[in-house]
């Protein structure tokens, strides 16, 4: 079963590296890319061109983004009942203590720092695949969506 991953990342190099790394992990993962915060939110709400966008099983969120930065995107996701159950992982180059602290306070599911070395990065993506897309039990997608829809009405 193909897993849906929303990668919120403005750097095309990082997007490609991430896609390559998931490919290395040999798992059927569909990576959707939003290159800024607004796109990410539009994807989740299925606005405009994203009408048929799937509900992601995992969100990989960079912090430093144009238009709407990762922290605000995180706050909106975790503040919205429809989306807050989606595991949201911060994947960024920052090792700043302040960023780490703030992300967890905004209820990020985990905080990961992008390693410089390619092998290390591949290991990290592999670990994400193993953990968040394989081992983790999530609430039933449809039921969850229905409940959210009901609440929304």
């Amino acid at each position: 079963m193909t897993r849906q991953v929303l990668l919120v990342e403005d750097s095309p190099g990082d997007v490609r590296l991430t896609q390559e790394a998931f490919r290395e992990a040999r798992r059927s993962v569909q990576v959707h890319v939003a290159s800024d915060g607004l796109e990410a939110m539009a994807f989740l709400r299925r606005d405009g061109t994203y009408t048929n966008a799937p509900r992601p099983d995992l969100i990989l969120l960079d912090l430093n983004l144009p238009k709407m930065d990762g922290r605000e995107v995180l706050a909106r996701i975790k503040g919205d009942d429809r989306f807050k159950t989606i595991p949201t992982v911060i994947l960024t180059t920052s090792e700043s203590e302040a960023d780490i602290m703030q992300s967890y306070q905004l209820q990020a599911n985990c905080y990961l720092s992008k390693p410089v070395q390619l092998e290390s990065f591949e290991r990290l993506i592999s670990s994400i695949n193993d953990f968040w897309l394989t081992m983790v039990k999530l609430p039933h997608q449809k039921q969850d969506a229905n409940e959210a829809a009901l609440k929304g009405k």
């Binding site: 750097s11 190099g13 990082d14 590296l17 390559e20 180059t93 920052s94 090792e95 700043s96 992008k114 390693p115 410089v116 070395q117 390619l118 092998e119 990065f121």
Partner: protein, 834 residues
């Protein structure tokens, strides 16, 4: 009581008219006598008798007139004319007697008339004497008391009788002549009638004038009474009137008091009775009168004798009295008893002697007339040597003259100018020495002219004190001017009373512009008041609180500019009350320097913060592109290794190596900047745990180098655990890295170097460092080895140094090349450490 007193020109005119009528009658009669010798003779006889009769009447009138004038005025000239008239009356009477001798009837009538006249004269004489002796009152009383019916009417009756008789004889013996000279007779009759009419009119006029004179007499009497009382009541002067011969005519109370004679005893006596025998022999009284007549006035001192024979010094003034026409009438004499003045002077002499100052009385000639004991003592002369001497003997010439001219100015001037203000001069002692004196002058009017009383005070002691004070003042002023600060002395009212040059310079005012001005002109209002209030507190309060403590205020210069000042106050007790001395320092430069320093510190802090921020952000943001380069280089090398040529593989290897080093450099820079950015508080930390964490982090390296790392039990310290881990990690890492090909041995030991501090030592058996690099190796980017020998960023030890310094210590190295190195640093001991 009423009498006819022809006295003014109207009466004279009346009588003149009567006389004119008589002359007319005489001429008529004469014309009659021409007709008949007999009648002529008779007529001549009758005319003579009638003329004589008329003369007598006129004489009597004149006598009465003079008599009354004298009584009223008391002027001797009237008395004279009275006497002259009296002589004329006697002559007229004799002539009449001779003319009427042939007629016994007329002679009898004449005798009666003469008796009346002599009676009248007798009475008048009595009144005149009374008037002369005792004055108008007595005379008036006598006149009022007179009841004898001697009247001019009786006299006139006799005159008429005689005149009628003559007329009858004339008519009887000259009927013919009468007839023939009817015209003449008629003329005579008409003349007689006219004359009677004139006499009657004159009589009526006289009566009227007499009433008026009576009123005038009353007024005169009133005024005279007042004057008499005034003169009479004078106590201190004997005042009397003398007649021409020096006989006393009037006497007042003062005269009685001074001489002891009562008025009754002395009136009519000659004033020479006041003089002693010797003066009388010298003819002094007569000389006095002569002088008074000659000069109009005599004034002099003499010895008078009282009634009881005692004598006194008298000041006598005799003035000659003249009537309107300049005839001498008598003298006034005013006498003062000088002995009484002398007695009171004796009393004041005691006062003079008791005065603390030298008192010298000088006359207008500059001669000393009186002095006291203190004057003798001050000038060193005995009294006798000074009395009568010129005052300039003891006061330098020039000054003495000024002193006298000053002293003799009008009293008002002198009072206005001298009372209370002393003149400072120099006095001259008998020994020739000078000494400073202060003189107070006051003029004193006396019988000897204006005297000058001079109170002279020896002020040498005061002068010396003043000089001393002046010296002190000069020294004080010198000190004041030498002060580096502006000094301003302010009185309680807040006015500037003293200042120095620095104060002028600082505030831009000249001395004159500040002296006497309120201090708030130079120190803003509010502050100035506080300043004065502060300054005026008790000296104890002030010294407790202010000495050594400056108050910072704002000063205001003349140009209106404000500048910061520091003020030190100290109260200063003076004769003018408490003064506030303020030392004012312009602290513009200091303030500016302080502000600049503060600004620099602020700038430095900001720059430091920015730098740290920059280093952190830079190292962080540099990793993003580096990661791209590294990742894609590695991807390239993995996927295309062997598919490209050997050069491509080599180039990719260099690029990957560069990326590795770049990554380490950034990592180290980030660490270094973190040490500074993290102003963490130090906690009690186990240094052993920090070391163990470091060794864990280094486990790969330790394993790879097969190193032996040993350590003593490490104590608890005050520190940052993360930083201490980094510190151990860097130092142990270096110890393993810089090695020959042997087994790296590293030992970490600890010792108490001083109370409260632990010194850690990390000893290795490595390459060692040459001494000239001991300092350098702790600097940034300092490396001792080539890149192909040992990789490294040159930041590791700089981080160590920074961490140790952040912990309040310092790091050092001890080493010998080839024998290993020992790095040492000290940390504060933790509380739980034994």
């Amino acid at each position: 009581m009423d009498r006819n007193h022809p006295s003014n020109w109207r009466q004279l005119l009346a009588f003149g008219s009567a006389a004119a009528v008589m002359v007319a009658m005489a001429s008529v009669a004469y014309r009659g006598t021409v007709v008949s010798t007999e009648s002529n003779r008779w007529a001549r006889h009758v005319v003579q008798v009638l003329g004589n009769l008329q003369d007598l009447v006129l004489g009597l009138s004149e006598t009465e007139s003079a008599y009354h004038d004298y009584i009223v005025s008391g002027s001797p000239s009237y008395l004279e004319s009275y006497r002259a008239s009296l002589i004329k009356v006697t002559t007229d009477e004799a002539a009449l007697r001779e003319a009427t001798a042939d007629n016994p009837g007329q002679a009898t009538t004449l005798t009666g008339l003469a008796t009346r006249i002599s009676e009248q004269i007798g009475f008048d004489e009595t009144v005149i004497n009374l008037r002369s002796a005792t004055g108008l009152d007595a005379a008036a009383t006598t006149i009022r008391g007179d009841t004898n019916p001697r009247t001019i009417v009786a006299i006139e009756a006799a005159v008429t009788k005689m005149r009628d008789e003559e007329s009858r004889l004339f008519a009887m013996q000259n009927e013919d002549a009468t007839r023939r000279s009817h015209e003449a007779s008629a003329g005579l009759i008409i003349g007689t009638v006219l004359e009677v009419l004139i006499i009657a009119a004159a009589g009526w006029r006289v009566h009227r004038a007499s009433s008026r004179r009576h009123l005038a007499e009353e007024a005169l009497r009133e005024s005279e009474m007042q004057w008499r009382m005034l003169v009479h009541e004078v106590q201190d002067y004997a005042i009397c009137m003398l007649d021409l011969n020096g006989q006393i005519v009037t006497w007042n109370e003062g005269a009685e008091r001074i001489t002891g004679y009562a008025a009754a005893e002395i009136i009519r006596r000659n004033f020479s009775c006041f003089y002693g025998t010797e003066d009388k022999q010298k003819g002094l009284p007569a000389n006095i009168l002569r002088t008074a007549i000659a000069d109009g006035r005599y004034e002099g001192q003499g010895t008078w004798v009282r009634k009881d024979g005692s004598r006194f010094i008298a000041n006598v003034t005799v003035t000659a009295l003249h009537d309107r026409s300049g005839n001498l009438q008598g003298f006034s004499e005013i006498t003062r008893d000088l002995s009484k003045t002398e007695a009171s002077a004796a009393k004041y002499r005691g006062l003079l002697e008791a005065a603390p100052d030298a008192m010298v009385v000088v006359n207008e000639g500059g001669a000393i007339v009186l002095l006291n004991v203190e004057a003798e003592r001050q000038f060193g002369y005995p009294r006798d040597e000074l009395l009568g001497q010129q005052v300039k003997n003891i006061i330098p010439e020039g000054f003495a003259e000024r002193l006298i001219s000053d002293g003799t100015r009008s009293t008002a001037e002198a009072l206005a100018q001298q009372i209370g203000t002393g003149i400072e001069l120099y006095g001259r002692r008998k020994s020739g020495g000078h000494f400073p004196i202060e003189i107070m002058l006051s003029p004193l009017e006396s019988t000897e002219g204006v005297l000058i009383t001079a109170a002279i005070r020896d002020i040498s002691v005061r002068k010396a004190a003043e000089k001393h004070l002046l010296q002190m003042e000069k020294r004080y002023r010198g000190l004041l001017e030498a002060a580096p600060d502006a000094m301003v002395v302010v009185n309680q009212a807040g006015d500037v009373i003293l200042l120095n040059v620095q104060a002028e310079k600082q505030f831009g005012y000249s001395r004159d512009e500040l002296l006497g001005q309120p201090v708030k002109n130079i120190i803003p209002e509010g502050f100035a008041e506080r300043l004065i209030a502060d300054g005026l507190r008790s000296a104890e309060d002030a010294s407790a609180q202010q000495i050594g403590m400056g108050i910072e205020l704002i000063g205001r210069s003349k140009t209106g500019g404000n500048f910061p000042i520091e003020i030190m106050l100290s109260p200063l007790e003076s004769t003018d009350g408490i003064l506030v001395t303020s030392a004012i320092r312009d602290i513009t430069t200091r303030k500016r320097a302080e502000a600049q320093l503060l600004q620099k510190v602020e700038e430095l802090n900001r720059s430091n913060r920015e730098l740290e921020q920059f280093a952190y952000i830079a190292s962080h943001d540099l990793r993003e592109p580096l990661r791209m380069v590294a990742s894609f280089m590695q991807l390239l090398s993995r996927r295309y290794k062997g598919k490209l040529d050997s050069d491509a593989d080599e180039f990719i290897a260099y690029a990957v190596d560069g990326v590795d080093r770049m990554e380490r450099l950034i990592q180290d820079l980030l660490s270094y900047s973190r040490v500074g950015a993290k102003k963490g508080i130090l906690y009690e930390t186990s240094s052993e745990l920090a070391l163990l964490q470091a060794l864990t982090n280094l486990s790969n390296a330790i394993h790879a180098a097969d190193a032996e790392v040993t350590h003593d039990p490490l104590p608890s310290v005050f520190g940052d655990e993360v930083q201490l881990t980094q510190l151990f990690q860097n130092l142990v890492g270096n110890a393993i890295k810089y090695q020959n090909r042997g087994t790296p041995r590293v030992h970490i030991s600890v010792a108490k170097s001083e109370p409260g501090r632990w010194t850690f030592s990390i000893k290795d058996n490595g390459l060692g460092i040459e001494p000239q690099y001991f300092e350098k190796i702790f600097g940034m980017f300092q490396r001792l080895h080539r890149r192909d020998e040992f990789s490294g960023t040159g930041i590791g030890l700089a981080i160590c140094k920074r961490i140790v310094e952040r912990h309040g210590g310092n790091i050092s190295v001890e080493s010998c090349p080839g024998q290993g190195s020992t790095f040492r640093f000290a940390l504060a001991e933790g509380m739980t450490t034994s």
